[in-house]
């Protein structure tokens, strides 16, 4: 199968190793990978800010870029949910509604693609360390990703998985919310960081780099030794 990648803008620029990890894993599993280099952003910042016209024009660009794709895999639950859930809504009563629905049906969050579409839970990955997993909200509640990343992590040799308590509480990022209401966002981040530290893990792992940007940003400023990694980085570590 040929998997077309959507690498969200901030992963492209800040965390390219996440995309590289995804490519390595998919190739190791024997699949062809494609990256249409005209891709940019899914439009979520404008959508969440209430500017749906501006969001739609960015989304139209995505419709053009991914028209030929068979399946689209993205290592971000949040951008994935934007395309899968909100694109059809955004294009309702417009000529491109059908296209938006087609694109929506092709979108897979990375861990769901591996486990549900490819049926893979173990490909011999090794990673030494204690790891706790943070569920990104849009992946969790928007796309229903819950067990997939955990199953994948449980099959990594040398990795000890420690459950976060509570695992399903938002880290406080929320896109523009983080700068519109920094005090609330940071208070939420604080609780998340304390929960992460309480697990005693060496790494906090997620399937959403945006949450990790927020969590790592706080941990670094607080000079805490724990490191954040995307699920794809952990799985590709030994490849």
């Amino acid at each position: 199968m040929k998997a077309t990648l959507f690498i969200p803008c901030f992963i492209d620029q800040f965390y390219p190793q996440v995309g590289v990890g995804v490519v390595k894993i998919l190739r190791k599993l024997g699949h062809a990978v494609d990256f249409p280099d005209q891709q940019t952003c899914c439009g979520q910042p404008a959508f969440n800010s209430g500017l749906w016209d501006q969001a739609r024009s960015v989304a139209e660009h995505a419709l053009d870029v991914f028209r030929q794709a068979e399946v689209i895999v993205t290592p971000s639950g949040s951008c994935g949910a934007m395309m899968k859930i909100h694109y059809p809504e955004l294009f309702q009563n417009t000529p491109r509604y059908q296209e938006a629905c087609e694109l929506s049906s092709k979108i897979y969050e990375f861990s769901q693609f591996l486990v549900n579409r490819l049926g893979v839970t173990d490909f011999g990955a090794t990673f030494k360390g204690k790891v706790t997993f943070h569920d990104g909200c849009h992946g969790l509640r928007g796309l229903g990703v819950k067990n997939e990343p955990r199953v994948l992590l449980q099959h990594v040799r040398g990795l000890e998985l420690l459950e976060l308590k509570p695992a399903e509480t938002c880290c406080g990022f929320g896109g523009t919310f983080a700068v519109k209401y920094p005090q609330i966002s940071s208070a939420m981040g604080d609780s998340k960081c304390s929960a992460v530290l309480e697990t005693g893990a060496d790494y906090v792992v997620s399937n959403d780099s945006s949450c990790l940007m927020h969590i790592q940003g706080m941990l670094t400023l607080q000079k805490k030794p724990i490191r954040s990694l995307h699920l794809a980085e952990v799985l590709a570590h030994s490849l």
Binding site: C9, F14, G43, F173
Partner: protein, 467 residues
Amino acid sequence: MTTAARQFKGEATRYTGDLTHRHWIQKALSGYEVKRDENKGRFQDWESARQAAAQIKYEVINHLDQYLAQFVKNIEARGAVVFWASDAQEARDYIVEVARKNQVRSIVKSKSMTTEEIHLNPALQSAGFEVVETDLGEFIVQLRDEAPYHLVFPAMHLTRDQISEIFQQKLGAAPVKDPEQLTMIARGVMRQKFCQADMGISGVNFGVADTGMISITENEGNARLSTSLPRVHVAVMGLEKIMRSMDDLALFLPMLATAGAGQLISGYNTLYAGPRAADECDGPQQFHIVLLDNGRTRLLADAEQRDALHCIRCGACLNVCPIFRNVGGHSYGTTYQGPIGSVITPHLRGLLEWKHLSFASSLCGACTQACPVKIDLHHHLLQNRRNATQAHPSWLERLMFGAFSIVMRRAALYRLAMFMGKLFQPLHPLVKGTAVDPVKAWTRTRETPPFAKTSFRSWWRDQQKGA
């Protein structure tokens, strides 16, 4: 920024900075979560129960005119007087008038958010009536001259010490710590008030259309006393609170208790059907129902967000909301706090004045997942944002996102913008944290990630070339 938005921002800053308060609320709600999950497990299937509840509400709300007419006809036949109030003023005026006509002196009230919504207490007090709240939590916040902190738990923000303190100050009580003793102090005061009161005011949890009754849920028994001892009973009911039949209650009564308070069923669930009948020896002589619109029909007209009228005010969405848990109930400045408040207040009190609440959300969706009647809460926050931005666009945001959409439509411009970002990032430490730092809202509490030396697309291009 509107006054309400400024106030919210200020209060949110104050409360999020108050670690003791944050911990207290987290602690208060952690017990609830355990009990809620335990009792959810007693439903054959919680998700199917939610689906069934949502369908019932959908049916009722989409035929509200018919069910309301049926409800009114049946309850009037039982001797109730029904008053349709189109806004808060009409409702207040009617209730004050009923009190005057009946030469009422003192009034007892059971817990009702709808009467909070119409600011009934100040209106009655300024008309010269004594009004005493009889729900323990409401009684306490009334003594403190505060608004309820939470739809369901009005005094959850207070410690026992704080409660004892206000009892000492306002009631001359002795200092006690034991919750039972605290309750006894309140009960001592209330019992007298119950006996003296000429009028009782309550809310309504559900109005049953086919039997013409109202259902009130409580845990303390105070609502039964407030509604049966005084001569006159006035029940204030939002016009969306209709159920079709008693069968619907069989689902909704346990659901309300479990979702909202983590109980299997609330302590008292009572049906009231009109005033004292000729062959009855107790109950009020007059029974008034005030059916309140106050913006609800505006919400009904909005096909996208009509399901917000499904709300049974259980409070589950507040309990799970990380925003509520950090800013607390008083920051909102609204009658209804938390996610449901952020969704409906713009409809009830004006979009532009209250839109900020829809932006004060990380859109995590915990509320939507918790809501027993499946209101698409976080999605409605997005729709409120869109509507507010359309009605009153901020030129700065329009400019920013206009530029954003131009750049993101062209990969070459995107690359250029990222190149500029990378070029200027090394200069960021010079302004970091100062007034001219463009991202200071972020950097105060969080480090910014560095641009990678090689972006993913560059890596891709290089390895494609190499291949």
